[in-house]
Amino acid sequence: MLTILHKQLLNDYQQDFPLSPTPYLDIANSLGITEEEVLVAFSALSEQDFISRIGPIIQPNQLGISTLVAMAIPEKHISEVAEVISQFPEVNHNYEREHHFNLWFVLIAHDQQHLTHVIKQIEKQTNFKTMQLPLLKDYFINLGFQLNLEPQEENFPINA
C-alpha cells in the first residue's frame, strides 16, 4: 500500500533529484523525516516495482540516435514476433496497440549505421516490414509524469 510519503517521493522527485553528496538526506530534511525512512521508502518502491529506477532521462538524439518503429503483424504471430524484437538490447518500450499497425517499439543505437543494421536484422528475423518514424521535433519540455494517486476524480486543469 502506498503511504503519503511514497506518493510524495513518486511525484516530487521526478525532475530534480538532488545533486548533492547526500541526496536522500536532503530529501529527508525537506520532508522533516530521517534519511533512513527515505531510503526504506525508496527501496520499497523499487522492490515493489512502482519505480523502474532513479536516474537520468537523456534528451532524444543527443547521444546516439533513436527511432519509433511500427509493424503490422497478423494477430496469431504477434507474441512470437514481439518476443524476437524484445531480445534486441537496442529495443525498449515494445507495445502492442489496437490498430492495423499493432506493434510499436523504440530503437536506440549509437549511430545510423547500427540503427539500420538492427532494423534489417529485425525484418530478416521476423519476415515483416517495419515503418520508421523518427522524432523530428519534441514539443514537450517537462517529461515528469504527474500522478494523481488519490481515489477521487481528476479534473482537467491546464498546466500553469
Partner: protein
C-alpha cells in the same frame, strides 16, 4: 563534443542510482573519480540539456495508469509547431512529438501520449483536448496499448551489444 568520461558516467547511472546514503560516491568509486566530480559532471550535463531530467522514473501501469493511448493527428505542416506546443501544455499529455508521415498508410505527423486510469478517462481527456484546441477538422487516430512486451529505460550503452563501446574511444 561529449567527453568520453561523461559517456562512462551516463553508462554508470543509466540503470539507476544506488539507494544508499552516498549514491554519487558509489558511482565515483566504479569510475575511479571523485564524488564531487561525478556531481559536477551530472550537473553540467543536466544544465546543458543532454540529461533532460534526473529523478524518479515511475511505472505508470503499476500505479494504476493502465490505459495508455497514442493519439496521432494529420496536421498541416504550417500549423504543426503551433499545435504541438499548445497540446503539450495539457497536464494529461505525457509526450508530444512531430514525426514524419508515411504516404497513404500513415498520414499522421503529430503524436501525443495520454496516460489514464481507464479507457473512458483517456477518451474524455482526448475530447477535451480536441474541443479546446479546435482540432475537430484534422484527421486523427487513437491507438490504445494492449500488451506491454518490454518497458525499460533507454539504455544508450546496452549490455551485450557488440556496438556498445564502439564509438567511445
Amino acid at each position: 563534443m561529449i567527453e568520453a568520461i561523461d559517456l562512462d558516467l551516463i553508462a554508470a547511472v543509466q540503470e539507476g542510482l544506488p539507494i544508499a546514503s552516498r549514491p554519487y560516491a558509489l558511482i565515483a568509486e566504479q569510475l575511479n573519480l571523485d564524488e564531487s566530480e561525478v556531481i559536477a559532471r551530472l550537473s553540467k550535463l543536466k544544465q546543458q540539456g543532454l540529461i533532460k531530467r534526473l529523478g524518479v522514473i515511475v511505472k505508470h501501469r503499476r500505479l494504476g495508469y493502465c490505459s495508455n493511448a497514442m493519439v496521432v493527428f494529420d496536421m498541416p505542416d504550417t500549423r504543426v509547431n503551433e499545435m504541438g506546443l499548445q497540446i503539450s501544455q495539457f497536464h494529461f499529455i505525457n509526450l508530444c512529438y512531430q514525426r514524419p508521415r508515411h504516404g497513404d498508410q500513415w498520414p499522421y505527423n503529430l503524436f501525443c501520449m495520454i496516460h489514464g486510469k481507464s479507457r473512458e478517462k483517456v477518451l474524455q481527456q482526448l475530447n477535451y483536448l480536441i474541443e479546446h484546441c479546435a482540432l475537430e477538422n484534422y484527421a486523427h487516430d487513437i491507438l490504445f496499448s494492449r500488451r506491454c512486451f518490454k518497458q525499460r529505460g533507454a539504455l544508450y550503452f546496452p549490455r551485450g551489444s557488440d556496438f556498445s563501446h564502439e564509438n567511445r574511444d
